[in-house]
Symmetry: C2
């Protein structure tokens, strides 16, 4: 039907409500009287609305859904003057800072909303417009003033990208089923299932922290990369997030990773991305990055290299690492052997690194000045079958850490 907004979420109403309640009540952990900001794109209305209803049922004071339209971004990249492409209206950042000042809840809906919408554009221009990402986002995360989460929102357009060989209806049904599975919504008690998984991740990161590693090394086809850590670097999982008001939240749903803070000056070697990544609407495939003394000195890719080069040129920290994360094979995403073209899901399928801003809480206060600082934070996947991870201790001894996805703790 022309112009109709679908109410079809690919889920029956009870499942949709259960999904929304898990996101609102557990992952974001919305509190009575909180303002809740939801970030989505046109096409994600059904889940955004279900989340809004769930938040209001939970006592939210207001739900502010902001839809970012990638087709408008496309129009900008096509027609606007080059020197305006990195301009961001003042009220975008102000809103983000207010969400922090007013201790709001934040929910972001991931999944490519309009796959391919920027693909035919000049990647050098595309790399200059980094919306909807905002530099103020990192501050708000690091201030720990908001309880927040990012969750995948299945759409038919996304399903076509992930399962191109299936008829559209089946592709959508399969994506929905996979998302419910990885979110543990196919369990009788999803919250209990998540608590069990987070307990396991807590155990892993406690062991890693006790070993006080100096670096980790990734080795596999096309990859030999050593990522140095800071003396105070801490390993964390999604089970470790609490706001300064004491609100426990799970920043990613799903989450299967333990992650830490690299030393921005001590990453060396070459790394080949094991999955495509979607950045600001562009898909980057076959990425290869070479690091020297912590800095990405070469960025190549089969598609979209210039987009990532644009991001990496944003500021001094944009070409250095802000995160290193390890994912074992007990997670639910890796075994699906599916490329989701969505960082939230793909990064939790495999070990990954991120260029740009570090999470302040992944290092001790004594190293607060040494962690990487940038207006960007872009994860890319470097782990997977054939890529093993090694621990390097402070005496320089190297030992297996994660082999075939199994911990050697």
């Amino acid at each position: 039907m022309n112009g109709a907004i679908t109410d079809d979420t690919g889920m029956d109403p009870a499942t949709l409500e259960r999904f929304a309640d898990l996101v609102v009540g557990f992952a974001a952990n919305v509190q009575p009287d909180q303002i809740v900001a939801i970030g989505a794109e046109p096409g994600k209305e059904p889940l955004a609305r279900a989340l809004a209803a769930s938040a209001y049922r939970a006592g939210a004071k207001f739900v502010d859904v902001a839809y970012f339209d990638l087709a408008v971004k496309r129009a900008r990249l096509q027609h606007a003057a080059e020197d305006t492409l990195d301009f961001v209206p003042s009220w975008y950042g102000e809103r983000m800072l207010e969400l922090g000042r007013q201790h709001c809840a934040r929910i972001g809906l991931t999944g490519p909303a309009m796959p391919g919408v920027l693909d035919d554009l000049d990647p050098a221009r595309t790399g200059r417009d980094q919306l909807p990402s905002l530099k103020e986002g990192a501050k708000v995360v690091n201030d720990r003033t908001t309880n927040w989460t990012a969750v995948p929102c299945p759409t038919p357009a996304w399903a076509k990208l992930v399962h191109p060989d299936l008829p559209e209806d089946e592709a959508y049904a399969k994506l929905v089923e996979q998302i419910l599975h990885v979110c543990r919504l196919d369990e009788d008690d999803p919250i209990a299932a998540w608590k069990e998984r987070l307990d396991k991740l807590t155990e892993v990161r406690e062991t890693l922290n006790a070993r006080k590693l100096d670096a980790v090394r990734f080795a596999g086809p096309g990859t030999d990369l050593t990522v140095g850590l800071l003396p105070s670097s801490k390993w964390l999982s999604a089970g470790d997030f609490t706001t300064i008001d004491g609100i426990v939240h799970m920043p990613n749903l799903p989450s299967e990773e333990v992650f830490s803070c690299p030393d921005p000056k001590r990453t060396d070697g070459v790394v080949r991305s094991t999955k495509p990544l979607v950045v600001g609407g562009s898909i980057i495939r076959g990425l290869e990055v070479e690091f020297r003394d912590g800095r990405a000195v070469r960025i190549d890719a089969e598609d979209g290299a210039e987009v990532l080069r644009g991001y990496a040129a944003r500021d001094a920290g944009a070409s250095r690492l802000g995160e290193v994360a390890l994912v074992d094979r007990d997670g639910r995403i890796g075994p699906l052997d599916t490329v989701f073209f969505d960082t939230l899901l793909d990064e939790n399928a495999a070990s990954h690194i991120a260029i740009g801003q570090a999470y302040a809480f992944t290092a001790g206060d004594e190293d607060r000045e040494r962690i990487n600082s940038s207006a960007i934070h872009i994860d890319f996947m470097i782990g997977g079958p054939g890529v093993d991870t090694f621990a390097i201790d402070r005496d320089g001894n190297e030992s297996p850490l994660l082999v075939d996805g199994v911990w050697r703790l």
Copy 2:
């Protein structure tokens, strides 16, 4: 197709671009380097995107499209605590004020986006949530810092409401055709057609201003209402709008009215609305309002009275008049004999009055303290066949002013 966002605007691409260019280049008169704010709802993406592209082609620095989701408003009205329903996050008003401070262009897309979405809800609750209307909007209009316009955006959902007896495709085609007609887009040179019409309206308002009326009286079935004017009240048309920077713009496209500033203390009598009105997603039908000494002392309606009572109770000025407007039968909307359920179109079909905030520029500086002040501004239609308008001069003499839609100047 499930979840698909239509690109079907009911227009061929060339017509859509011509429409967008008329709105951007003539009505809003977007200037190079301006930020352009577009207000729309989900379902209006195709025109919003065409406007964005047109604005960028015209040299806009940034186009900020804000989609307000009435289904989220519905969830709020269903579930949120009553005493939170008039809460508005600080950044909503701040954004509006920044649009003024930064001398931006503003384009609003009218037309009911989700007809009936709030109809089954408690109207007393509905009247408390007045979004997407913002009290800061009146200040920005009165400061004349932004060049702005409101234009109708046809959608299939709206077409069904306006032409319920036609098959959906035909209803949509008919609404699109009507909108192109009333916007003069069926003329070879729409801008020339508008200039001709605006010249005529200028002639009318010059004569009205020269007559220095004390009041106007509306008389017809169920209506006998006298609206007093201030000593300095000025009649204006859409051809009279210039920002403080000298940017000429047309605040409504289409516009057929001349309008002025009532004395908020001198409206008396009873008025029956001649068309339904849509306020914040609710439809109010069969409205009858009684005024005494300028104040609406009784608001009745067949449907939705409580919604309007909620608005009228918002503040001291919300039950007094801020505008009186006269529409002759040379306009293009009246002859269509169609109820559009959209104030922009319906108010330009017939004479109307508005409760709430007055436009500061419709009175002289000496009466600046006397004009009506409120957080709301709601037009309702009181003219039409059988309703005539009379002029009352400062000696109390009454004479015909607009009879059967023809001026008696």
